[in-house]
Symmetry: C2
């Protein structure tokens, strides 16, 4: 089962070549071997997994028998939902988040709840990076990403506000897709900064990302691969000097390889007006995060982590006018960025400036991810393998707002070109 | 207690002039008398009300002892939450919606759950308009509005996607406030069309609206009345010919009265590019509504109302490109509208084209409300009393995006000018 992606597993189950029970046992065995080291799960019950698999015998849904990890920021009726906060210890939602229900309706097996940082902000849990146990898997979708890299499930749900989906994908070497803002329902997902909060997911291939999109976004455009040359932009942004040399080399080699394969890549230099996007994102994230967590702060400030308290403190020191001005700047820049990106099928960049750092407490900056997320554009991480035994780098591929179908087609084209 | 607004009640409780228990008994008696005719509640338990009141003795919070009605689209841990859908019969959330928790933390008494249309869309319940029992109270926040007009509580929560908060306010003669998009957490609120969904509320005065804003929007600017002349726009929009003569007369008289009191009012005629906003709002509402209700439609299409099924059918007949184009048009018009509104403290318009219509099944169009909601602008309804025994009309006052504090100050100025 290790050689199959989620699409392959669903096809094998639907055709009767295997059963949900056999699929479940394969992944349960993987979890049994790896979980003591990785600690991807906050809630996991093998008997509940087997029971779901039994009920899915004969299922032919688009995710028939496919095991999925669910970040513990989504409500689930059959697992506690704790947001990695002691305030919510033992919290048992009465119903599933919208997307969890859609996954179940498509035939997926919910494998359990995976580690998140506290409220999907910064305070980290114990999850380790399967590629190097001394390193973080990234945050905040840590458990979903680490579980993917460890082979615990071939699909997983995450969320992204700043860098929470693509950063772990870059550090763990995963395919990840964060759709355009507003396409996927956030019902039953704990809000952090609603201007940016978006559901996303990990898969084992670009076609896996597209298959989940069709399940979670009814009416999502079908996936067709194209063979014409791709029109690609390469945008470093003003933070490029922060990129570690080995990461920069991996990205620049990929860009050169794409050009060499007949896909023209144009380097795009943004006007300096975009230099403030990183700080504006953080300011808005702080203010909205403080509002989203107001009830927890009022009732249980002593149970919040230092990083969350620091966010709330920064928000209190920020005026209404400062927040309004930051939002107005982003609203003004959005159509300019759309116009800059318009000639291209997709824009390329780096997902993270660094390789997965050593230690579990901090996970590094998210600048290159939040830059595009600030405008609600859809984003993909493609894992770039480096040398034998070396950590992967993440190539970020960015689409036009609501151009999610074209982005996935282009991402597949990039994968094909880099593999050939 | 009938002569006090929510602010007055909270002050009386905080000062010890009355107790939460006495307040509760007053409103319970009102409900006992009126509810058989009005049918505002879907869930109501007088003993639970008395228990909350008992626990609030000595409370000095900003809403100390103030009874609040909660539209049954917000999750509540102590009442079923059914969204007026048989799919959710007996649904018992494990925790309160964010705003319900904030109300409790401020000292409010949750009086019960009030009637909503199915999923806050169009399919109506049995609630009657207290001003004329043969007429609808409007939708979708029907029970909250009717309960306000019947004196069951001095504050109530609603939501607005198209016209769901201001329409019932206009029909029932209420003060209503729908803040700027994105300021109030939607955690635990059933989504319909996330591009427009906003929490709002009813109060007995503009200062009530502002008091709730400070509870539900941490950091909300404090309220100061100003005595300088207001700078007001009056914007009819292209749908003005739909306005019934008695409604038009009431609005035009109010506008003339304001001008006569020394507040200059400039009539603003919008470019024809804005004529499509009404239809674009509906198209996006259809497409997003169908996505939000995808899991219910997949599992229980036979339990959805005809109007909801019709929405989903329209969404299926709408292409991805059509929806993208509608969203792009609104995004392009938003800064133009902001610029048009910029010279004014607030814009005036009508809330509803008609007075509350006879019958309970349909509630009339929401065009004049959704026009401004399409851009996320904050909106207030001010009740305009007409002749003795006549139904009220609704004066809509619209502020700049995130100019919610200025909007409330201006609305108070308008109230003062019309009363003097």
């Amino acid at each position: 089962m290790n050689h199959l992606d989620a699409t392959g597993i669903a096809e094998a189950v639907s055709s009767g070549a295997t059963t949900p029970g056999l699929v479940a046992e394969h992944f349960l065995a993987q979890i049994g071997r790896g979980e003591p080291d990785i600690q991807a799960f906050v809630s996991f019950d093998p008997e509940a997994v087997r029971k779901q698999a039994g009920q899915l015998e004969g299922c032919a849904g688009p995710l028939a028998g496919v095991p999925v990890g669910i970040k513990d920021i989504f409500d689930t009726a059959d697992h506690p939902t704790e947001f990695y906060s002691p305030i919510y210890q033992g919290n048992r939602p009465s119903r599933d988040a919208h997307v969890v229900t859609l996954l179940r309706q498509a035939g997926a097996i919910i494998m359990g709840k995976t580690h998140t940082t506290e409220f999907a902000y910064m305070h980290t849990g114990p999850t380790r990076n399967p590629l190097d146990l001394s390193r973080t898997p990234g945050s905040s979708s840590a458990g979903s990403a680490a579980g993917m890299a460890a082979g615990f499930f071939p699909l997983a749900l995450g969320t992204q506000t700043a860098g929470s989906l693509l950063k772990p994908a870059a550090y763990c070497g995963l395919y990840a897709f964060k759709p355009s803002m507003g396409l996927v329902s956030l019902e039953g997902v704990k809000p952090l900064a609603p201007s940016f909060d978006t559901v996303g997911w990990y898969g084992r291939s670009v076609r896996d990302l597209e298959r989940v999109a069709r399940v979670l976004i009814p009416g999502f455009a079908a996936f067709e691969t194209e063979s014409r040359p791709l029109r690609l932009g390469f945008c470093r942004t003003s933070r490029w000097p922060d990129v570690q040399p080995p990461v920069a080399r991996a990205i620049e080699q990929a860009v050169a390889q794409l050009a060499g394969k007949g896909h023209p890549v144009s380097e795009v230099v943004l006007p300096t007006a975009f230099d403030g996007v990183f700080d504006d994102h953080q300011l808005i994230n702080d203010c909205e995060g403080a509002r989203s967590l107001a009830k927890e702060f009022q009732a249980h400030p002593e149970l919040l982590s230092d990083s969350t308290l620091a966010m709330i403190k920064r928000a209190k020191a920020t005026s209404w006018e400062q927040e309004s001005a930051a939002k107005a700047r982003l609203a003004q820049l959005a159509p300019q960025l759309a116009q800059i990106c318009q000639p291209f099928d997709a824009m390329l960049s780096v997902s993270c400036a660094i390789l997965a750092p050593v230690g579990l407490e901090t996970t590094g900056p998210s600048d290159f991810i939040k830059f595009w997320g600030a405008f609600g554009f859809p984003q993909v991480n493609l894992p770039l393998a480096r040398g034998e035994g070396e950590l992967p780098a993440g190539l970020q591929v960015i689409g036009a707002f609501r151009g999610d179908g074209q982005l996935l087609i282009t991402a597949q084209g990039v994968v094909d070109a880099l593999a050939s």
